[in-house]
Structure formats: structure tokens, C-alpha cells
């Protein structure tokens, strides 16, 4: 290629100069790893969450150009974005689904760090800032879906403000100070929180939260982006009904990350206890859990009590989340009868889940330890490796590029024909294909850098070695005189390929282990 980095031209010198300047910044303190092979995404879920944050920042900034945070225009401006602004539909759907994905990623990230025990022993600050980031992320997502000011948004704002109101003594003043008075102020202020206050607080916390070792896996990032677009294509987010205070709202359910809280609110028990104290207690428990966890070991199998608490929390989150969604479909009953959850039923299920989860954890740990013991007795199975001949790598890459061209054209035609969700869907597929392509490219490169040992000895050199061996054997009257340590005649060992491969593998293994432990 023309812009080779091996030749010293002025452009390369400019790049080098910039790179040398960046050396003085904090960014050089971060260790970025671009994995050269597929690694499990569980270890870098945090990075994926951050990537989603960036996607949300970009798509959100573009939406800001058209959104109007005014009481009677908010919904109409979103409708305008959705229906008439070119690519507005795409951006809105990306923004919406990325927000859900970010909350989901953050939760998965948290539970992975929890069960793998990485949250303690000098990682407490990472954990505590992470929990705060998680809370702010949910608030960010919440304020986001409120400022559409549809019927559902109005109910959500009402609940948020009346929960703030319900805080003893300070509540009404807090509501007045943070939200202003009336829906006009609420929409405007939720918007201000959504686009500035919360993101700036998130960025500040993220600076503290970033570990020094970061993994940026291009195919996984592209796959996540593609998945968001595909979801947007298949389940485009709707507008809801414009809020009209004189029209009673139908039954609406909040976003999935808040239905758990909603289930408690629907028990009709005291607003402050169910809506502020319970989630507050949950968040507080999460904040202090690394200081409670006194186990010396890290694996979930060696920390039964902590694992059981984690499993209990998951069980309770799942049950309340589903319960919050569930509304009695019997339309002959009154609205209130359909909505209200019997508090005794709800709380007894919550309590019943504790022994069940502890029992489940006990069972899982027993089973896992048994499996571990059995695995030690049996010979280790070889890892199965998919090896694609070099020629086929090229073929598949070219086929994927051709497929991408086809997809690009079809996405463009879908857009021209007004099939916005289909075009978004196809763009998602393009991202997935790119992820596959990048993975294949990476695979090909790693093969080129560390060629596998030649399995079929058909090269001239090896044939010559075999000749030599035969000659030696013959000169000894058919008796092999070679010592085990003599590698000179071994087809693989002779030129040090094996050592090289082993060294590379060892190095990779070390660096990955380091990465896992530090991430």
C-alpha cells in the first residue's frame, strides 16, 4: 500500500509526532489489548458497556438537534424525528435499543464481577464506583424515556416526582428544587439531567472506574452494534400516545429495568417504603458487599454464602421484574383490581425465594465440585480447533465482502422505498458480517504470524531429512542410534518451529491470564 508505515514520509512523521505528544497524556497509562483470537466477552463486558455509552452519546447528540423539551411540543418533536427527519427513525431506534443494551450489559458486568470475586481485595473502589455508575445509568435511561412525554412517560414522571415527594421531611423541598413545579418544569429539567448532569457525572465516575487494562474486541463491539440495529429493525420503538391530562391513561408498564420496582409500588403499600427504601436498601447492600465478603478465595464455588446472596438477588429481580409486567388480562375487573398486587402474596414469595435460592446454590456448588473431581480423574480432552486452510480464508473473506455489497444495496433500496425498519435491520446484518469478517481476518493474521507445524511431511526439506534418517539407520544395520535429545532429525523440532509455537502460545496464555486477573 502507498501509505506504508515503513517508509518515512511527512505523513508518517506527523503521526509519529502526534503519537509522541500523546505519550505525555494519561492515555498512555492505559493498556489497550486488541485480542488476536476469540476470547469470552464476559471479561470485557465493562468495555462493551462503555462502547454502548459512546454509541448513546453520539446518537443522542444527533437527536438533540431536533428534540424540543417543551411541554406541548416534546412528543410532536419526537414524532417529527421518527417520521419525517431522514434517518431520524434509525437514530431514535439505535438510541433506544442501545440504552436497553447498556443497562443489560451493566447488570451482566456487575454479576460477572460479583460471582468471579474480582470486586474485592483492592478492587473495592472499582466496585463502588461501578454501582454508582449503574444507578446513574438507570436514571439516565429513565429520564430518557420520560422526556418523550407520552402517556407512559407522564406516569413515569409522576411516579418519580411523587416518590421524591414521599421522602420524609425533605421530600417536597427536594422535589421543588430538583424537578421544579409542574410538568413543564419536569420535562425541561429531566432533559437537562438526561443530556448534561447525568452524563457528566457518569463520565466523571468512569474516569475513576476504568481499570488500567482494557480489552477492545472489534468483532464483539461490531456484533453488539449490529444486534442493537437488528433489534431496532424487528422491534421498532413506538411513539406511545401523546399525553393529554384530560384523557385517562390506559395501563402502561415502565421499562423492564424498573418493573421490579413497579411491582412493589403496585402492592399499594407505603410509597416511601416500597419506592425509595427498598431500592435504596438494595443499592446500599450492593455498595457494602465487597467489605462483607471475607472469603479468602475468589471462585463462586468457594464462597457459598456470597454466591447464595447473589443467586437470591437474581431470583428476586427476575420474579419482581416479571410480576411488574404481569397485569390481570380480565377486562371485566376494575382497573384497580387488575393492577394491585397483594402485598402479603408478594412479600411471602420474596421471602420464600431466599431458602430456595440458598438450596439451589448449595446444589450447584455440590454439582460443580463433583464435576471438578471427576474431571481430575479422567484424562484431559483435547481442545477441538477449527482450522481453515489459507486458501479458504481468502474465499470466505471475498464472499463476505460480496455479501456486504449486496446488503448495502438492499439497505439503500429499503430506505428509498420507505421501509425504514428493514433498512435498519439490514444495516445490523452488515455490522454482523463485518464482525465475522474481522474475526476471520484476525484469525488469518494470527496463522500467518504463528504458522502451525506442518502436519504432512511432504516438503522437500522433510523428504531430505527422511532420506538422511534412512541412510543413518542403514549404516547402523537397522538399529536406531539416535538419542532422545537429538532433535536434528525430527521434522518439527529440527528447525525450532515447535519451540517457537510453544513460546508464542505460552506468551499469549500469560498475557491473557494477566488480562483476566487485572480487568
Amino acid at each position: 500500500m502507498a501509505a506504508s508505515l515503513h517508509k518515512e514520509n511527512s505523513l508518517v512523521r506527523l503521526f509519529r509526532w502526534i503519537y509522541a505528544g500523546v505519550d505525555r497524556t494519561i492515555f498512555m497509562g492505559l493498556k489497550f489489548t486488541f485480542p488476536t483470537r476469540f476470547v469470552s466477552p464476559l471479561g470485557f463486558l465493562g468495555m462493551l458497556t462503555f462502547v454502548l455509552f459512546i454509541i448513546l452519546g453520539i446518537s443522542g447528540a444527533l437527536l438533540m438537534l431536533w428534540y424540543e423539551p417543551i411541554l406541548d411540543r416534546a412528543w410532536d418533536s419526537v414524532e417529527n424525528i421518527n417520521d419525517t427527519i431522514p434517518y431520524g427513525f434509525h437514530l431514535r431506534n439505535i438510541h433506544y435499543h442501545a440504552s436497553n443494551a447498556m443497562v443489560m450489559m451493566a447488570i451482566l458486568h456487575m454479576y460477572y464481577q460479583y460471582f468471579s470475586g474480582r470486586y474485592k481485595i483492592r478492587n473495592e473502589i472499582l466496585w463502588v464506583t461501578g454501582i454508582l455508575i449503574g444507578v446513574l445509568t438507570i436514571l439516565e435511561a429513565f429520564t430518557g424515556y420520560d422526556i418523550i412525554f407520552s402517556e407512559r412517560a407522564e406516569l413515569a414522571i409522576s411516579i418519580a416526582a411523587s416518590l421524591t415527594n414521599s421522602i420524609p421531611i425533605l421530600g417536597p423541598d427536594m422535589r421543588d428544587a430538583f424537578f421544579g413545579s409542574g410538568f413543564h418544569d419536569f420535562v425541561l429539567r429531566f432533559y437537562a439531567f438526561h443530556v448534561f448532569f447525568l452524563p457528566i457525572a457518569l463520565i466523571g465516575l468512569m474516569v475513576v472506574h476504568f481499570p488500567r487494562f482494557l480489552v477492545f474486541d472489534v468483532p464483539m463491539v461490531m456484533a453488539i452494534t449490529g444486534a442493537i440495529m437488528i433489534t431496532g429493525g424487528v422491534f421498532p420503538v413506538d411513539m406511545g400516545l401523546k399525553f393529554d391530562p384530560n384523557v385517562p391513561p390506559g395501563i402502561t408498564v415502565p421499562e423492564w429495568y424498573l418493573t421490579g420496582l413497579y411491582a412493589f409500588l403496585r402492592s399499594q403499600y407505603d410509597k416511601f417504603v416500597t419506592g425509595v427504601a427498598w431500592p435504596g436498601l438494595f443499592i446500599f447492600t450492593l455498595l457494602i458487599i465487597p467489605f462483607i465478603d471475607k472469603y479468602k478465595k475468589f471462585s463462586w464455588k468457594d464462597r457459598p454464602l456470597i454466591t447464595a446472596i447473589g443467586i437470591t438477588s437474581i431470583a428476586q429481580i427476575v420474579v419482581t421484574t416479571y410480576w411488574g409486567f404481569y397485569i390481570d388480562p380480565d377486562r371485566t375487573k376494575s382497573l384497580l383490581d387488575r393492577l394491585v398486587i397483594d402485598p402479603i402474596f408478594l412479600y411471602s414469595v420474596m421471602i420464600l425465594l431466599v431458602p430456595l435460592s440458598f438450596g439451589f446454590t448449595y446444589l450447584m456448588i455440590k454439582l460443580a465440585k463433583n464435576a471438578e473431581a471427576n474431571a481430575k480423574l479422567q484424562p484431559r480432552k483435547k481442545e477441538s480447533v477449527i482450522t481453515l486452510p489459507e486458501k479458504w480464508i481468502y474465499f470466505v473473506l471475498i464472499a463476505l465482502i460480496a455479501f456486504q455489497i449486496y446488503l448495502n444495496i438492499s439497505a439503500y433500496y429499503a430506505l428509498l422505498n420507505g421501509m425504514k425498519n428493514i433498512s435498519l435491520f439490514i444495516i445490523g446484518i452488515i455490522m454482523l458480517v463485518f464482525a465475522g469478517m474481522f474475526h476471520l481476518y484476525r484469525h488469518g493474521r494470527s496463522i500467518a504470524n504463528n504458522p502451525p507445524p506442518p502436519s504432512i511431511p511432504q516438503t522437500e526439506r522433510i523428504r531430505a531429512l527422511q532420506e538422511k534418517k534412512r541412510a543413518l539407520l542403514e549404516s547402523n544395520n537397522g538399529k536406531p542410534r539416535l538419542e532422545a535429545s537429538d532433535n536434528s532429525l525430527h521434522p518439527i523440532k529440527s528447525n525450532g518451529i515447535l519451540d517457537k509455537v510453544l513460546n508464542v502460545a505460552r506468551k499469549n496464555k500469560n498475557s491473557f491470564e494477566k488480562m483476566w486477573n487485572k480487568d
Binding site: I159, S181, H184, N246
Partner: protein
């Protein structure tokens, strides 16, 4: 400083500590005027010291002689020049003339009630239903019901809420000699006229 030996062994304050105290006091005093800046946050538009007309949806001022008994209208208070703000639920009030059995036939301000239409439960807009057997405020969302005389919730989820969140905020009325109704300047406090969306303690 605590690490430094005291020269005479008594507990007189050292010069350095004295200067530090002065600096701290100066810092506190420097920022004291800004404490009041907390008032930047709440919206001041609701507070007024003048009484204002009870303006009916048709633009006329409500009069005790013409307004029907056992009837209600939605009024806006405070009225803004901005039509968008006038759609604000928090500025919407239910103006009720009570039915006869509750004293609605008197030709003075005592026959009238003005309550915030924002339901204390989840802020839908309730309204007054004059029909026989109802004669109460009902919220369409979750069925909270309000007593039109006191503004107290007697049924539904709002009735289960602890005070002050079970009594609607109200506006005080005054009739002039021609029978026109005026809204007195409100005191937005839980012990006064109440806080919209939050409630009021019974007087």
C-alpha cells in the same frame, strides 16, 4: 498544630491555629451569601401577593349568582400568557359549586370549593361527578375518590396514603359585593393551601 510542643504547657491557642481559624471563618463567610442561591432551583412563578379572578373556560369571571349548583369547571391558576403553560396539569384546578345538601345553595363563597385536579396518588387529573349517588371527585386512573367539601380522599389508593398526601391542596375564595369570585393569594405550604401533587394537612 498538635505535633508542636506547647511553649508554656498551658492550653492557649497558638498563633498558627488562630490564623487557621480566621482563614476557615473567612472561607465560610465568603460563601455564605451563596446559600440563598438555592432559591435558583424551585420555580417561583406560583407565588403571588394579589388576588386573582376565577376565570371560567369561556373567559368570564365566575359569579355566585350565575354559577349552577352541583356543577364544576376546570380552571387555570395561575393563568399564564403562554398557552403552553396553561395546559399544565399542575395549574389545573377543579372549581366546584357544592350540591344543595352540602350547602351549595348559599349565595356566598362558602358554597364553592377549588381543589387541585392533580390526583394525590399518581397525578392523573380527577374531576367532580355531579350525578345522583356520586357527587364526589373521582380519579379515572386508579379510582381514588375525594370528598368535595374537604378534599379528603375517602376511597381508592389516595385514601391509603398517610397525611398530608390524602387531602387535596385547595385555593381560598372570596366573593365581592357583585358576587364575583376571587382567588386569594395562596400559601404553598402543607399547613397552608397545600402543595400540588403532594397534599395538605387538615386545618
Amino acid at each position: 498544630m498538635s505535633g508542636q510542643p506547647q511553649s508554656r504547657g498551658d492550653d492557649r491557642i497558638s498563633r498558627r491555629d488562630f490564623l487557621k481559624l480566621l482563614a476557615a471563618a473567612g472561607t465560610v463567610l465568603t460563601f455564605t451569601p451563596f446559600v440563598d442561591w438555592g432559591k435558583f432551583l424551585p420555580n417561583p412563578s406560583g407565588s403571588t401577593t394579589e388576588k386573582s379572578k376565577v376565570q371560567l373556560p369561556d373567559g368570564s369571571q365566575a359569579n355566585v349568582k350565575t354559577f349552577k349548583v352541583n356543577h364544576s369547571e376546570a380552571i387555570i391558576y395561575p393563568i399564564s400568557d403562554d398557552p403552553a403553560l396553561n395546559k399544565e396539569a399542575f395549574r389545573t384546578w377543579q372549581f366546584i359549586r357544592l350540591p344543595v345538601e352540602l350547602g351549595g345553595d348559599k349565595n356566598d363563597a362558602s358554597a364553592f370549593r377549588v381543589f387541585s385536579m392533580v390526583c394525590l396518588h399518581l397525578w392523573c387529573l380527577w374531576k367532580y361527578w355531579p350525578g345522583e349517588g356520586r357527587k364526589r371527585g373521582e380519579c379515572p386512573c386508579h379510582g381514588s375518590m375525594y370528598d368535595p367539601v374537604t378534599g379528603k380522599a375517602f376511597a381508592g389508593p389516595a385514601a391509603l396514603q398517610s397525611p398530608p398526601s390524602n387531602i387535596l391542596p385547595k385555593l381560598d375564595l372570596e366573593a365581592d359585593k357583585d358576587g364575583y369570585l376571587w382567588i386569594l393569594p395562596p400559601n404553598w405550604n402543607v399547613n397552608g393551601n397545600g402543595i400540588v401533587g403532594y397534599g395538605r394537612f387538615a386545618a
